[in-house]
């Protein structure tokens, strides 16, 4: 599939590289043409580099891996027409580092970044997923032992199925992809971040995840 990856940081590079490895064609989009990260990645991984708009136009599916605080600006640069009718998997966390470490969230509790994106792009099928694990675990869940889970949330059932398919390619077994419902459930997925950061501090390693066990 042709996939546009918005963002050139660790998450964008990790996801884009794995997608190429799985046989997909990827354009990595950056704020400006000629972005060094994107150009270097494209050269090393038989991918393409371009602007946010070029990556969004290229993708039959688009993955938002931008800095959460800049996500809405990045999507505006990508362009409504380039996103319309497409599945947009939103992987970002709206981290606010303006008051130092640990970060707070730019939006929480009564709204979420994914809800804002869905509201701003009603013709785009937004699915929140993967934001609850570190980049390496997103694309290689078997690096963490046990029956740990990943979540999907969004309004469009078909878009969630496409997302589940991609998660399956990454290595997430069907039973470990939990559908939390509509896009509002992204709120809980984003608000999990402060607990994730505390666990990171307690464990001393970012490659971890949670399993969910219920009483029989």
């Amino acid at each position: 599939m042709n996939i546009g990856v918005l963002g050139t940081g660790t998450v964008g590079q990790t996801i884009a590289s794995r997608l190429v490895e799985l046989g997909h064609s990827v354009t990595m989009g950056a704020r400006q043409a000629g972005n060094e990260n994107a150009t270097a990645w494209a050269a090393a991984h038989h991918g393409r580099a371009g602007t946010f708009a070029e990556a969004a136009a290229f993708g039959a599916l688009v993955i938002n891996c931008t800095n959460g605080a800049g996500a809405l600006d990045a999507l505006a640069a990508a362009g409504e027409a380039n996103l319309a009718g497409k599945v947009l998997i939103d992987v970002t966390n709206p981290l606010d580092f303006s008051a130092g470490m640990p970060p707070t969230l730019t939006v929480a509790n009564t709204d979420s970044l994914a809800e804002r994106i869905q509201a701003a792009y009603p013709a785009t099928k937004v699915v929140k997923s993967l934001n609850t694990v570190t980049a390496s675990v997103m694309v290689r869940p078997d690096t963490v032992p046990g029956d740990h889970v990943v979540f999907v949330a969004g309004e469009d059932a078909g878009a969630k199925e496409i997302t589940r398919g991609l998660l399956g390619e990454f290595g997430w077994p069907e039973a470990r992809v939990l559908d939390l419902g509509g896009i509002r459930a992204a709120r809980g997925m984003e608000m999990y971040l402060p607990l994730w950061l505390s666990l990171y501090g307690a464990l001393g390693v970012g490659a971890f995840n949670i399993a969910v066990h219920a009483a029989k």
Copy 2:
């Protein structure tokens, strides 16, 4: 130990009953003397019923099981002098139902209920714990299979040790009690609630919990 349990709802009743079963002496505190829930509980469980102030004065340790939205009022009624120098285990979630279901939080992101309580009662050793599981799992973790975990957060190491001891009595193995650090970590524990509510919806059962698996 003499323990004061503030709150007469499901959480207060479940914890108070388990404490009596474990051999502790418990006074259940309510907003008003003669509260029906507290009186009935006391009669059925060889406990005592009283006001918030009486329960706090009685306890060498106090457990806050009040409605999160009313917690600060309840503690004001309990009285600063009755709480000073004591360990206060804060089990509450600051749920705001004013805009309907699902609830939001009355405080989040840049503050937490536990931080507010610690700031308001600096002579009290506040430990946030148990708020991430439903009442039945709090006091009988073995009703849920697997290596699922409970968290503690607070400024006072001794208070966290006392809390760990009580959690051990409830049935939480030492290795499954994760210390997340100072009271600020309560923020992540409280902000986990929206994800908990989504999982509750997806699983259809409240008796569940999360395990944390890390890469080797």
